[in-house]
């Protein structure tokens, strides 16, 4: 509520496990830019893991559902603000479970039965929203543009959306109908709002292999190769993405791809929120967390330095 | 038509030039006025800039009322538009198309546009000179009674609809009970929203409604023995209980339905090996009785598999899809699942076909847990093991442990009399089926003798349904696969025998709802035929046409070409071998006129002389003018509309073509072609409908006849020392409007290559 004129809106924030490890730079930069965009984040107290995309296999369907159920119950205890998450997997699970609890009486009953073991309950009266959808629908491009003091001039960005940020909810009513499944535009719009140039980039919503890439990269390296290759061919300086797992897979496997396919990729992969932090003239390290990228986004670092200097 | 023949009056032509829709900008009307007054000596000529408006129409109407004009020649838009505006009682209206064919397709203000406009006016004025208002035939008395053959859902519906429309109906059924196949159905497919549940079979109610209708006379255990005459004047001999009786009939609806494909031919699918392999038709009876049990031991049938396309879409059996079997199996599967929730039902299909609302029914069955298995069934064993192949699985999969196997067999049309055994009858022998065209007298072979009247004995297996006394044979013509139809899309219900309309599964496979709808259409066609005939008017596709062919018997050489070529059997020979027109069968296509080698067949308003005069009315410029002329003889059914559409789209039409509309290419005499060539035209295009197996000719064989005759044109060209490129057939459909301009340009380029006709200036 630093800027009452701007009408800051409060959201209950679900950071997810990656915020403490592989995607700390998403968490850090998002928390940094949020106040400037009128977003007040109140973290769910004592949140737990959403189960990601593999939990169900060992845990089973209902325990997996109960994980999100506990988070939602905790969020509801804190108030009726919309729940915001920036992680694609967290969004997929939490939003999906929330809608199921809303619509399916049996699921609601079973989840609450399980929650009862910890004296919790949840009736499905919250909305779970993706950070990008909030930026599109609640904040708007104009407000983002209005915060830019250090336009990312000359930075060529390949906007890689990935899968779960848009599928299967982006075009649904509960998902805020904020973009399409196959040709989303929001990410390019964010980059251009920051003063960068969004290059034409085909594999916007191609799959990086998700968790299969994590445990069996041999099956999916070719997918990641196509994602990086198209960005290099388009002359991009940096790939921008909203998804923690995409960021990690596309960044950390470039060496393995080079080894397997004889390429020489070394293309930085950043979060859109890092672009915003730099464009908003904020600190490269403390706010944009550019030091957390394994492949240093050199051009972006330079742009940040220029602003600071 | 009791009015005095109009040709007795002197012709009083009057020319009305419209300047609207860009015509005045395209061509100077004054020059056209001169054509009328100087060349054709028509003194009465009026110009108006909005002829189809109130004032314009009044102008013409007043002239006619004053007795100044009885042949208004309206030089404005295509005759295909504003026909109602320009219809005047007691006057013969002639149209010259200056809009679609000049103003909208030629360079406005150009010399070529002016020349084209003048030529089209000349043609119209020539048409006025060479034709007279048609006078309808009158061969009263007529019968207005509708005969419906067949008392299943189609026949019952046709009878009820015709009766409700105010017509007397005679319904003939070969069985002792009305209702047909549907009597045996436990339930029917959903024909009303939400299309998700099997519905009660309501055939009994329809039977009651028909039986109690005062305008419907029902004869059971009754067959048609012989049908002669024509629309409005059919004489139909019926046999009932050994007694024959003749009835006067106006029009006939044939609704003889279908029979299931003989399952005894499906031994490879286990039929006959065990009583637990049944047909879908047999299953209806089992479902009607209550809980489903195995015929072999009476145990409950809990695991049931349906084999789709049993003997269908199989070149060794029925080559076609019967379209209803998928829906029927879905219905039966749902019935089984609903009556026994513990049951498991499998539908093994290769391609599931659920047109229209049946898709909704399909989803309902999926939601009800019916298992749809994609595969081609290879065989069914005596132990009820159904083995199928699926290309995706790449293996043969056995389904074991089934209680009952249902074969979804297809529908066979009852296009012939079944005989007492009710067994499958052979297909009718080929007659005028376009797949086996009849030989054409004088062109390919000698004419066959007129059809000898078939014996009027009781119908036998494979015998004709109606025993038609037509020269083309006693059977209803079939289009393909034994179904009595002439063209699914363009001419539904038409059988190629005027006044006789097929409907229901006799025409193509269809379900109860479709049959009822189809029967309604056929009933309306029958009524339409009666109404037209009683007024002396032509039937589809020249519905309302009062003209009919008149034969000059003094010059007739009795060559029999007209009788053989008539696609509708409307001309027979009398005992002297002279042709006799049966006008109510005639469709006014003029194929007889095109066939006649001595030009002695003509209509009041359409003749070889009229056409050749119109062709010659066009001014052919000298060779030095470098303006070639190509004559387009264009069929009024598709070619002319397509040319009009090119005009509506404002396409440029080649300025050197001159279009003469003809009723059908079949009506084009070779004389028209040779006269055009000798007048100095550089090329001739015969633009008509597709002929052959999938013909689109609206008169069935007209375009095919034109093709046959064209084979003779080669000799004509040779004798005139002309190149074969000078005569070009072109098959076009209504959908070809966009490519017509290019087709004509390409032809003109070809003509340009071979140079101008050497006969220019001799005509």
């Amino acid at each position: 509520m630093s800027d009452p004129k701007a009408g800051a809106k409060t959201y209950t924030y679900y950071p997810g496990c990656s915020s403490q490890a592989s995607a700390i730079h998403l968490d850090k930069s998002l928390r940094a830019v949020a106040p400037k965009l009128g977003i007040a984040l109140e973290e769910i107290e004592d949140w737990n893991c959403c189960g990601a995309s593999v939990g169900h296999v060992e845990g089973g369907a209902l325990p997996q559902t109960a994980l999100s159920g506990r988070n939602l119950a905790k969020a509801r205890q804190q108030g009726s603000h919309d729940v915001l998450t920036a992680c694609a997997a967290c969004y997929l699970n939490t939003h999906g479970v929330n809608e199921k609890i809303k619509q399916d009486v049996r699921t609601r009953a079973r989840v609450n039965q399980a929650l009862g073991a910890a004296d919790l309950k949840y009736d499905g009266d919250l909305n779970v929203r993706h950070a990008c959808e909030v930026l599109v629908n609640d904040v708007g491009l104009e407000r983002i543009k209005g915060q830019v003091v250090n336009p990312l001039k000359g930075l060529k960005v390949a906007g890689y959306v990935g899968c779960q940020t848009v599928r299967p909810f982006a075009a649904t009513q509960s998902g805020g109908e904020y973009d399409t499944y196959d040709q989303p535009e929001f990410l390019d719009n964010f980059a251009e709002a920051c003063g960068a140039e969004a290059v034409a980039y085909d594999p916007k919503t191609s799959c990086c292999g998700g968790s299969v890439s994590v445990h069996s990269p041999d099956k999916t390296l070719h997918l990641i190769k196509q994602i990086v290759e198209a960005a290099v061919e388009a002359g991009a300086d940096v790939i921008a993405t909203p998804c923690p797992l995409c960021q990690q897979n596309v960044e950390m496997y470039q060496d393995a791809i080079n080894k397997k396919f004889g390429t020489s990729f070394n293309l930085p992969v950043v979060f859109y929120s890092q672009l915003m932090a730099v464009a908003f003239g904020m600190d490269a390290k403390a706010d944009a967390a550019l030091d957390a990228n394994m492949i240093a986004p050199v051009k972006l670092v330079e742009l940040a330095k220029k602003a600071a200097g | 038509m009791s009015a005095a023949p109009a040709q007795a009056q002197a012709k009083k032509p009057g020319v009305y030039l419209c300047g609207g829709c860009g015509i005045a900008q395209a061509t100077p009307l004054d020059a056209l006025e001169k054509v009328a007054s100087k060349e054709y000596k028509v003194a009465h000529c009026r110009k108006h800039d909005f002829l189809c408006g109130e004032a314009g129409v009044k102008l013409i109407r007043d002239d006619i009322a004053a007795g100044t004009v009885n042949q208004p020649v309206i030089a404005a838009c295509s005759s295909r538009v504003n026909a109602d505006r320009f219809r005047f009682d007691g006057a013969q209206v002639i149209r010259a198309n200056l809009r679609e064919q000049v103003a909208w397709t030629q360079e406005p203000g150009s010399e070529d546009a002016a020349m084209a406009a003048a030529d089209y006016l000349r043609m119209a004025l020539t048409e006025a000179r060479k034709s007279s208002p048609p006078v309808a035939y009158d061969i009263a008395p007529y019968s207005e009674r509708v005969l419906v053959v067949g008392g299943g859902i189609s026949g019952l519906t046709a009878a009820r609809e015709a009766a409700e429309a105010g017509y007397q109906v005679l319904l003939v059924e070969r069985e002792a009970k009305l209702g047909g196949q549907s009597l045996a159905w436990s339930k029917r497919m959903p024909h009303l929203p939400p299309y998700r549940e099997p519905r009660a079979n309501d055939i009994e109610a329809l039977v009651k409604a028909v039986e109690s209708h005062p305008a419907i006379e029902v004869r059971r255990e009754c067959r048609v023995v012989k049908t002669s005459g024509g629309p409005g004047k059919f004489a139909v001999e019926l046999s009932q209980g050994g007694a024959a009786r003749e009835e006067a009939i106006g029009a006939i609806v044939v609704a003889t339905g279908w029979r299931p494909y003989d399952p005894n031919k499906l031994g490879h699918l286990g039929y006959g090996a065990t009583p637990d392999v049944v047909t879908g038709v047999a299953l209806e009876g089992m479902l009607a009785k209550g809980p489903l049990v195995r015929p072999s031991d009476g145990r409950a049938a809990k695991l049931v598999a349906f084999v789709q396309c049993a003997g269908s879409r199989d070149p060794a059996h029925l080559p076609y899809c019967s379209s209803v079997c998928c829906g029927v199996s879905i219905k039966q599967a749902l019935q089984i699942r609903q009556s026994d929730p513990d049951s498991s039902v499998y539908i093994v299909y290769d391609e599931l076909r659920t047109p229209g609302t049946a898709e909704e029914f399909y989803r309902a069955a999926q939601e009800a847990g019916v298992v749809f298995v994609k595969g081609k069934v290879k065989g069914v064993g005596a132990d009820l093991t159904v083995t199928y192949d699926d290309a995706l699985l790449g293996q043969s999969v056995p389904m074991q442990g089934l209680d009952l196997v249902v074969l979804a067999t297809g529908m066979v049309p009852n296009a012939t009399e079944l005989g007492d055994s009710g067994e499958a009858a052979p297909l009718p022998p080929a007659d005028i089926n376009p797949l086996s065209p009849i030989p054409v007298a004088g062109y390919a072979a000698e004419a066959p003798a007129a059809q000898a009247a078939a014996p009027a004995a009781a119908a036998t297996q494979g015998a004709s349904l109606l025993n038609l006394q037509y020269r083309q044979g006693p059977h209803l013509p079939i289009l393909a696969d034994g179904f009595a139809d002439s063209h699914f899309i363009c001419f539904p219900y038409e059988t190629r025998r005027s006044g006789i309309y097929a409907c229901g599964p006799l025409r193509r496979p269809m379900d109860m709802a479709e049959s009822a709808e189809d029967a309604t259409g056929a009933a309306l066609k029958a009524i339409q035929a009666i109404r037209n005939v009683v007024e002396g008017r032509g039937l589809h596709p020249r519905s309302g046409d009062l003209s009919f062919p008149k034969i000059g018997l003094t010059t007739c050489t009795k060559c029999r070409r007209c009788t053989v070529e008539c696609p509708f059997g409307a001309i027979d020979e009398n005992e002297q071998g002279q042709p006799v027109v049966n006008p109510s069968r005639c469709r006014r296509c003029g194929t007889c006129m095109g066939a006649c080698p001595v030009r002695t067949i003509s209509f009041d308003n359409y003749s070889v002389e009229m056409l050749t005069s119109m062709i010659k009315a066009v001014e052919i410029p000298d060779e030095d003018a470098e303006k070639p002329r190509v004559l387009v003889l264009a069929c009024q059914n598709d070619a002319v509309p397509a040319l009009d559409m090119a005009g509506i789209a404002r396409s440029r039409l080649n300025p050197y073509v001159r279009i003469v509309p003809v009723r059908c290419l079949g009506s084009v005499s070779l004389v028209c072609v040779s006269e055009a060539l000798s007048s100095g035209y550089d090329g001739i295009v015969l633009m008509g409908c597709k002929s052959g197996d999938d013909y689109q000719c609206h008169f069935v064989k007209g375009s095919a006849m034109a093709q046959e005759r064209l084979q003779k044109v080669g000799e004509t060209l040779k004798s005139m020392a002309l190149e074969k490129e000078r005569v070009r057939p072109m098959e076009v459909s209504i959908a070809d409007a966009a490519r017509l301009p290019k087709l004509l340009d390409d032809y003109l380029a070809e003509i340009d290559k071979i140079g101008p006709s050497p006969l220019k200036g001799f005509g």
Partner: protein
């Protein structure tokens, strides 16, 4: 969820290749399985799959195999493990079949019924779930280590060494910390919730009412 139909009939020893009842069992007892009934075999799913080449069978074929009763082939296929959850098939399916969710459910069934002892995903999932259930949050070091060593000690060391450079870079970038595992404070109540959820499912499988 009741147990999948037993394979053995009195007559046939060993597993039957085709089990007529399997399709209905999937329709009725697998989470989202009723939607398999809606499949019309169009193939949009298989055509949209980014990883189809790495699958034994595309989703369309897998659904056909369910209907053909090929229970063992379905539950041992790698299809259910290799789904990357890109949701292309889900948003494109003309019959709105939730393909991803169904593959997940089948994977769960495969684990429960012991069809997936050699798959990597279940091992990874086991490691993952252990971390979640114990600490409330996932710890990548823990998950990774547990996963690698689930393949055996030797293989675990090989994989760990192979991925050491990545791990070192992650540590350098501050994305892999060296302290105690992250944990939710209320991990204990989470464990109670999960235990209860497992109880409910177990009771449902047994056909009785959850206590």
């Amino acid at each position: 969820m009741s147990a999948a139909p037993a394979a053995a009939s009195a007559a046939s020893a060993g597993r039957r290749q085709y089990d007529l009842g399997f399709a209905r069992w999937v329709y009725q007892h697998v989470e989202g399985g009723d939607k398999v009934a809606m499949c019309m075999q169009c193939g949009m799913c298989s055509g949209s799959c980014p990883i189809g080449t790495a699958m034994d069978h595309g989703p369309r074929k897998l659904f056909m195999m369910i209907r053909a009763g090929m229970k063992e082939a379905v539950l041992t296929s790698n299809t259910i493990w290799n789904c990357t959850q890109c949701y292309n098939c889900v948003v494109r399916c003309p019959r709105k079949v939730p393909v991803t969710a169904i593959l997940q459910s089948l994977a769960t069934v495969a684990v429960k019924e012991g069809y997936a002892p050699t798959q990597s995903t279940p091992k990874f999932s086991k490691a993952f779930w252990l971390s979640v259930a114990r600490f409330g949050r996932t710890d990548e070091r823990l998950v990774t280590a547990l996963y690698y060593f689930s393949h055996g000690l030797k293989e675990g060391i090989r994989r760990a060494l192979e991925n050491l450079p990545i791990a070192l870079r992650m540590i350098k970038a501050g994305r892999m910390h060296l302290g105690l595992p992250h944990r939710a404070k209320g991990a204990a109540d989470l464990r109670a919730i999960l235990a209860k959820a497992e109880d409910i499912e177990r009771a449902e499988r047994a056909g009785g009412k959850p206590s």
